[in-house]
Symmetry: C2
Subunit: 170 residues, 2 copies
Amino acid sequence: MTTFSMYTASIPVFKQILNSLHAILEKAEAHAAEKKIEPNALLQFRLFPDMLPFTRQIQIACDFAKGAAARLGGQEVPSYADTEVTFEELKARIQKTLAFMDSVPREAIEAGLSRAITTGSGERAKHFEGGHIYLFHYALPHFYFHATTAYDILRHNGLEIGKKDFIGSY
Amino acid sequence: MTTFSMYTASIPVFKQILNSLHAILEKAEAHAAEKKIEPNALLQFRLFPDMLPFTRQIQIACDFAKGAAARLGGQEVPSYADTEVTFEELKARIQKTLAFMDSVPREAIEAGLSRAITTGSGERAKHFEGGHIYLFHYALPHFYFHATTAYDILRHNGLEIGKKDFIGSY
């Protein structure tokens, strides 16, 4: 039986949804090619003018996943330049994020339970008394917010996907 | 320091986001009144014709929250009729869900860790070897999916809310 721990509550959960997003990106890419849709019509689509476009939603979802793995594991958060402009590049960013998450030792993640965590700096700094507070009340809600919004953008644009594609498997 | 447990990984997390949705519903209601928007223009709005409308997104988010509290706690899942047709009624459904979650004893939720959980029935049945698998890989992803989509629907319709309203506080 799988244990209940900081690791099992975090890494496999982020990976489940990141793998879903990767598969959804493949579907979006194939759909755009088939229907002769200019990729940027999807990649740069926003649900409202002052919302972030699809590409940023994927980038930020990746950022919360890598941020969680790094912070829980007591490592520096790696910095990824936000330079992706194609579906292929967004898939690569997800793969890079997945690989980074796997590179953080499980024992370090487990030890994150009692790690005090600070995100941001200056006035925007947020302090969490333990890794589980950071994970459950901050990292995962933000991650799901961007991951679901990415899904909603494609769904709104007619991509034939359903909730099963988002939930994926683990 | 807050402990890390089945209870702290579940009930306060659902409550954080349900309280956010409750506050967002108040803003949507006030916005509709102020702009003389027919409430159903928002309540029945879908991001795509074969997606569920706003009202259903809220109802289903509540269902995953009450389902998680009941199943982790080893109780029957209470059945709520999907009869809400106003912002006021949707807020009441959230309040009812919050009250139900608080009615399940914390010790019962904690014991959910080692509870085998089955959702659905027949061909659609899903089996989980322990409450944490059910919570992290099924109940929370579904919950966030519907909660975020509800947010996205209102945002797409011009309601002036931001991610902070979604994340809320705990």
